[in-house]
């Protein structure tokens, strides 16, 4: 994505069969360059496909690699990771732009009005700010299909709720600080709910299982209550 390459900061032991490569400091916040370096390293490692590779977790500024200790020792894993981190980005998967419909309304997003009030904006302004930003998929985790998207425009960034909800409904579109996401399934959560998306974010029986992957771009667009219901949404 960017020509300006972010150097590898460190490779740390994570466990007896896991190592983590840092491209951004753990307390540095969201950094687009670090995210690009993570994606490039993950794609280089995937292409190299060493026999010891068990799993990978790309995240904002780090890549966690799990390996089979019967197939490789920590020095080998470290050397391979270093090589993959420093190599040129291979022609990996091209990132796609995924557009996701959202029904923004208090009945679908119980925190929408409070968030607007806090930001001294109208609900319509919040919606237009949320929909005009192009978000990057920084990480997938927490739950199957949960994509961490960033960055939310500072004007509508909002801290997590003081008391998390015990149940956030499936499809809830939410904001926490400068991150936004769609809840793939009902779960507890402390993010601010601003709408609902009818597109399933994780369907084990569908192919592909998820509409987005790490590195993709996402843009939301507003739909009406009728469109939301017609697309399979429920209230």
């Amino acid at each position: 994505m960017s020509d300006d390459k972010r150097p590898l900061l460190a490779i740390e032991t994570a466990g007896a069969n896991a190592m983590i490569a840092y491209f951004g400091a753990p307390d540095a916040g969201i950094d687009d360059q670090a995210a690009s370096a993570v994606a490039a390293c993950a794609s280089a490692l995937r292409a190299a496909a060493p026999c010891w590779l068990v799993d990978m977790v790309p995240s904002y500024g780090s890549l966690l690699v799990t390996y089979n200790p019967l197939e490789a020792d920590p020095l080998t894993v470290r050397a391979t990771l270093k090589r993959c981190a420093q190599g040129e980005a291979t022609a990996g998967r091209v990132s796609q732009l995924v557009r996701l419909p959202v029904y923004y309304a208090p009945e679908a997003g119980p925190d929408l009005e409070a968030l607007a009030e806090r930001a001294k904006l109208s609900v319509a302004e919040v919606v237009s700010i949320h929909t005009e930003t192009l978000y990057r998929v920084y990480a997938i985790g927490f739950a199957p299909g949960f994509a961490y998207l960033g960055e939310v425009d500072e004007r509508i960034a909002a801290p997590r709720l003081a008391t998390p909800r015990t149940k956030v409904p499936k499809g809830a579109v939410a904001i926490a600080d400068r991150q936004t996401a769609v809840y793939p399934a009902p779960s507890p959560g402390g993010w601010n709910l601003i709408g609902r998306c009818p597109t399933p974010m994780f369907d084990p029986k569908a192919e592909p299982t998820m509409p987005v992957q790490s590195g993709d771009q996402v843009q939301f667009y507003a739909i009406s209550r009728e469109e939301y219901l017609a697309l399979g949404g429920s209230l």
Binding site: A14, P26, D27, L64, P74, I140, G141, G145
Partner: protein
Amino acid sequence: MSSDNTSTNTQAHTQPHATLVKPGVLALLMDAGRFGQHGLGLTTGGPLDAEAFFWANALVGNAPEATAIEVSVGGLELRADTPLTLAVTGAQMPLSIDGKPQPLWQSHRVPAGSLVKLAFAESGARAYLAVAGGFAVAPEFGSTATVVRESIGGLDGKALGAGTTLPLNPPADAPALARLPEPLRPEYATTPTLRVLEGYQVAHFSTAQRALFYSNEYSLSQQCDRMGFRLSGPALKCALGGIVSEGICLGAIQVPADGQPIILLNDRQTIGGYPKIGSVFTGDLHLLAQLMPGAKVRFAPMDAACAHAELLLAERRRQQALKQLETPS
């Protein structure tokens, strides 16, 4: 299509099966775990005591990753609808077949119609019940491991319920009965010292904080499940507040703001944003898996090269032990 249906039906009649009469506290179908699916946000699952799981399968002649039942705390009852060969390993959960007590860590022939009971654990917390051939469950995302939180694996992603019919794979050959000699069985300590590979944000824990961690006992709180064990003891302070979310490996020890460490286990979320001091050595996790809330643990630092050597030696010991299986008298 119709011939396919016929063959499926015929198979259903001839396929060996068992009925779960009572699941007890928690019974989960489990293979070795789900790997290569972190990109979707799917966790690994798999047996909390990988050592006992391995031996349950080995004793009935199965492949190491064959699907078995992880029984937590006990109280399970199973009826053999067709003859089967089974073995139970792990926690001291008294096993009986048709009311007659039977030893763990060895395989048994169970005639059709027999009732297999696993009473509540006298020590330890998790036992593994394997049958020759393994339970016949379709894998999801490459694994049969049940992860209830994700509704994936096992039968419909759920813990096993009373009355469930469990289909079994027909064993390739009637396996010879086998017993793991007592000296080769894992030793489960009551207050184990868990060895720790320092890593992740360890540099942000001061020398004093690390000394506090290694010189005190921590007890298992009531909040212990397959996702993680929350401990209680002297609070640890990390110089970092929050961090940006990053991948969490098996055994990682995260320290939230309250300073009480949480050891993340098989059903952990794949990424999280709490600082971590390091990870419990994977070769020690089976010791933790056998503890109940209230039990105490200690920690000791471990060198990464030493950890690697220990894992290789453990595998070699396993392979040697496989050659030393006894025939039960």
